[in-house]
Amino acid sequence: MKQLLSFIRKEFIHVWRDPKTLVMLFGFPIVQIVLFGFALTNEIKYANIVVVDNAKDVASQQIINKIEGSKFFSVQKTLMTPSAIDAAFKEGKIKLAVVFPVNFNTDLLHLNKASIQVIADASDPNTATQLSSYITTIVADYQAQLSPTMSAPYSIVPEVRMLYNPDLKGAPNFVPGVMAMVLLLVCVMMTSVSIVREKELGTMEILLVSPVKPLMVIIAKAIPYLVLSIVNLGVILVLSVYALDVPIKGSVLLLVFESTLLILTALALGLFISTITSSQQSAMFASMLGMMLPTMLLSGYLFPIENMPVVLQVISNIVPARWYYVIVKAVMLKGLGFASIWKETLILAGMAVFFTGLSLRNFKIRLE
């Protein structure tokens, strides 16, 4: 016990004395949260659009009022020639243009058919689709309002409700992803680097000659990072609740428990990497490549897994973050309990056990 305590104390000193580690440990999650929460959002707010109203009648005016009322657009009303619109797109001044023809209202009333031209800059397809669908919705809305009875005798009006995230904010989607990434990256990288450093410095030999058992080396190495990761988790959750307005709907305790499971998996992975690498640099590289990329690309956090080629879908099953991401979304955003995530929890626990076993076995072989 005394041995273990001396060892853990030493590990904590290593962490505190190394400003680089500390910055990475606590700076990384904060930067990620801020970046993903505020800067890299997929919401569209106040997109610059131009409305060319050649009709200037009641109907066009009412629609324009609705468009202006939406927070999605920042509307500029001018009379522009088609070539001027083209130029504005090329210069990137506008994302979308709405053009009303001269006889808009007349056509609407007498022909029962009027058209509006919507031109979008599809060099950014997501934004273009989103913006044009906003416009379509506004127009449809107006139409419904104009002639509640006049429309087709049978009409189906889909009432869309965006559950759990009604405003389609970006943050609720990113926070679970950032949590997975930060916990994995920090734990895997820190543990592997700290063990490999002992090998590189030659102190590992001294430890092996001492009465310290390999298992104790591992536990002593893991505990500081386990503690720091839980602190880190707290920081991320506080930031997401208070800075990003992403509430924790489910049980905090359950969330902490599930996160600890991910942390354990990550520590085991870090240990595994430390047994197959011999320099700090290669350990760091392996952690980045082995963790960062799969976590970002295959966890479903940046790209939906359902849209991936089958091969990648299969591969994504071995990425721990994939399961954790599902769990966090369920607990944090949907407020679900353990009953609905036990499968994912079981998979994650299985991974933790598997990697711990694998790296313990490997660690022992390497001692020889």
Binding site: K2, Q3, L5, S6, F7, R9, K10, I13, H14, R17, D18, L201, G202, T203, E205, I206, L207, L208, V209, S210, P211, V212, E368
Partner: protein
């Protein structure tokens, strides 16, 4: 010097596939002795030492260290030996005191013992002003002296030194050997590998390994007489010329 034997090997061998790194070495080391272990690079001295420390399992033969069998009782051996590797083995980002506390701690010394020991050690090395400074700020010679003192902080029966004085100037090496003599006087057996042949003169007995075998084992005077050489350099040169293995 008492004749109590603390290390005894009998045809100790280590084979890596076809390569015989250590070939049936047999020798005894007595309590309190300074035992020099010489050999060219690749002669097998580090491998032999690693077997005695429990870092590497011998292929065949027998070896007793501090009264324990290297095959059956590696844990007991670890509790009774100290080790200083050729790589510098203290933590640079820990202070002098913290290093002593850590190594004392992992050898299971009580807080009281650690406090006593670190006081003694800092006194002996004259490191009062540096006790709370990081080891990285010390000059290399001091680091090595500290490293040695830390390796014997738990009062082991035997301390293994693997080329401990690499890269320091002769004056520092002399001071380092003063520490070794001190430890030997207290009954700690010193098992030291070196490639500085002048250091071999400081040892009570010297063994010289060539191609995995012990080719000579005697006191420095004895070796000089046998090989009718005026110094250890010549002795070593005469033996090492027979080597077929190149340095690895």
């Amino acid at each position: 010097m008492s004749k109590e034997i603390v290390i005894r090997t009998n045809k100790l061998t280590k084979r890596f596939d076809d390569f015989v790194a250590v070939d049936e070495i047999t020798f005894d080391v007595h309590k309190g002795e300074i035992f020099g272990f010489l050999g060219a690079n690749g002669a097998g001295k580090t491998t032999a030492m690693r077997m005695l420390c429990g870092l590497s399992i011998p292929t065949s033969g027998e070896a007793m260290v501090a009264g324990y069998d290297v095959f059956k009782q590696p844990d007991e051996i670890k509790q009774n030996i100290g080790y200083m590797s050729q790589k510098f083995s203290l933590y640079e980002d820990l202070s002098v005191k913290e290093n002593i506390e850590f190594y004392g701690g992992i050898y299971g010394l009580s807080n009281k013992q650690i406090k006593e020991k670190s006081g003694e050690l800092i006194e002996r090395l004259g490191l009062h002003n540096e006790a709370d400074k990081l080891v990285s700020s010390l000059p290399l010679g001091w680091k090595q002296k500290l490293s040695f003192s830390v390796a014997i902080v738990h009062q082991p029966k035997i301390v293994f030194l693997d080329e401990p004085t690499g890269g320091v100037d002769p004056a520092m090496r002399r001071q380092f050997w003063d520490l070794i003599y001190d430890a030997a006087d207290k009954g700690i057996t010193i098992f030291v590998t070196t490639h500085y042949l002048d250091e071999a003169e400081y040892c009570n007995r010297v063994s010289i390994m060539v191609d995995g075998k012990i080719e000579a084992l005697d006191s420095p005077e004895g070796l000089r007489k046998t090989f009718s050489a005026s110094n250890m350099d010549e002795v070593f040169y005469k033996l090492a010329r027979k080597a077929k293995r190149s340095a690895d």
